[in-house]
């Protein structure tokens, strides 16, 4: 599907959104994951189920169901949906944490898509090293999968209280990459930015540069992450890093606030800054990235 077709499709679907194209170089060859083919998938991030500050999002119980309804109404289904962490709002109460995880899981099960991938954010996993999260979502803190010629790598930088990948996971990553050809298209999915976006607000992964260094020999790598609750694009050499919106509350970008700030609800523009992302993966061109709104007034 080309970009014009995609825009028309979104218009017809009634969801609209902000479209921008990535600068990722296309690939003409393939590696161990098979021949690359076009497809699209959706990224839903930072749901924070259990959050209840109505001044920031008065529809805190309705935004996720609205997004799920919008996804289910798409005439062209995505190949899969990936939730990129912070499925729930953190709590020091382990029982409540499990209740939120269960409730989120049950609501997300309403997605009518072929496949759903999950991984944790620090709100889900940092306080108990992912114990409760894994009770509901299995051993999905870090893993890989292949889809239509693309090798996906889920990296865990949230199940330790420190924002780290850790030496063991770095070794695991390097062992996985050793199996791949340099022209293998790779998508990394993670929660925190791997680069030092703004450590002053805890927007970084302490040892993320080690992962970036390991990925650098591969010429077709794209990173999708969440955590910062607004769109952001950054390149480390040829590796593009994209942050997506949240489905609960926006955070002000660096330079627009003197501290980490949740953006208050705007009654004149409800759901502004909230949403999810469509990634139109193309085998021979840069992916199309479309940010879609979370809901309507």
């Amino acid at each position: 599907m080309n970009e014009l077709d995609r825009r028309e499709f979104l218009k017809l679907a009634g969801v609209g959104g902000v479209v921008f194209a990535s600068g990722l170089a296309g690939c003409a060859s393939y590696g161990t994951a098979g021949a690359p083919r076009d497809f699209h998938f959706l990224q839903l991030s930072d749901i924070h189920w259990g959050y209840d500050n109505a001044s920031v999002n008065p529809d805190f119980k309705g935004t996720l169901p609205k997004a799920i309804a919008a996804v289910n109404s798409l005439s062209q289904k995505p190949d899969f949906v990936v939730f990129t962490g912070d499925l729930t709002q953190t709590t020091d109460d382990a029982k409540l944490r499990r209740a939120r995880l269960k409730e989120f899981r049950d609501i997300a099960a309403g997605l009518s898509v072929p496949k759903i991938y999950y991984f944790a954010g620090e709100h889900d996993a940092a306080l108990d090293r992912g114990e409760a999260y894994q009770e509901f979502f299995g051993e999905t803190l870090r893993y890989t999968f292949d889809h239509k010629g693309v090798h996906f790598i889920v990296l865990d930088n949230t199940s330790d209280p420190a924002p780290i990948l850790g030496a063991q996971q770095i070794a695991w990553l390097k062992a996985d990459l050793e199996k791949l050809r340099p022209d293998q298209p790779i998508v990394v999915l993670t929660h925190r930015p791997l680069f030092a976006l703004y450590p002053q607000w805890d927007w970084s992964t302490r040892d993320g540069q080690e992962a970036i260094d390991a990925l650098m020999p591969f010429k077709n790598v794209t990173v999708f992450y969440g955590h910062i609750h607004h769109e952001h694009r950054h390149a480390t050499a040829h590796i593009e890093h994209y942050a997506s919106r949240s489905l609960m509350f926006p955070l002000a970008p660096v330079g627009t606030a003197d501290k980490k700030t949740q953006v208050p609800w705007n009654a004149a523009a409800p759901y502004k800054g909230l949403g999810y992302r469509d990634i139109d993966w193309r085998a021979s061109a840069a992916p199309g990235i479309t940010d879609l709104p979370a809901g309507k007034a």
Binding site: T90, D92, A162, P199, Q200, D202
Partner: protein, 121 residues
């Protein structure tokens, strides 16, 4: 030995200044500022120091291995309860420098931060 005794005295004074409710502290020349760390705050959370003067921040965590990350000075430390963790710096440029707890510590973690204010002498 004399230096240790001097630092200890200054530390006591700074600790008194850093009592709960006092939101800012000012460093004396070559001094130590005590900072109490607990969920979900640094006390004081605004620390005033003087350009060109060495200062030691002496952290005591009461409840968790919080983190202290001051990126503009490339300083970070884990703050282990039951011990005092010191970091020493000599700021060279006036300004306001944000620091944060960078170990996820619970419900209020996202707001656990502070600022180092470097003043002219």
């Amino acid at each position: 030995m004399l230096r240790r005794r001097f630092l200890g005295l200054v530390c006591d004074v700074a600790a008194a200044m850093a009592a709960p409710g006092l939101m800012a502290a000012v460093a004396r020349p070559d001094s130590v500022i005590a900072v109490t760390v607990r969920k979900f705050e640094f006390v004081p959370h605004e620390i005033n120091v003087i350009r060109g003067r060495e200062v030691t921040l002496a952290f005591t965590s009461t409840d968790f291995v919080h983190g202290f990350n001051l990126p503009d000075f490339a300083i970070r430390a884990d703050l282990v309860p039951g011990r005092t963790t010191e970091v020493t710096l000599r700021p060279t440029k006036p300004g306001r420098y944000l620091f944060t707890c960078d170990n996820f510590c619970g419900e209020g973690h996202d707001h656990m931060a502070g600022v180092l204010v470097v003043n002219e002498a």
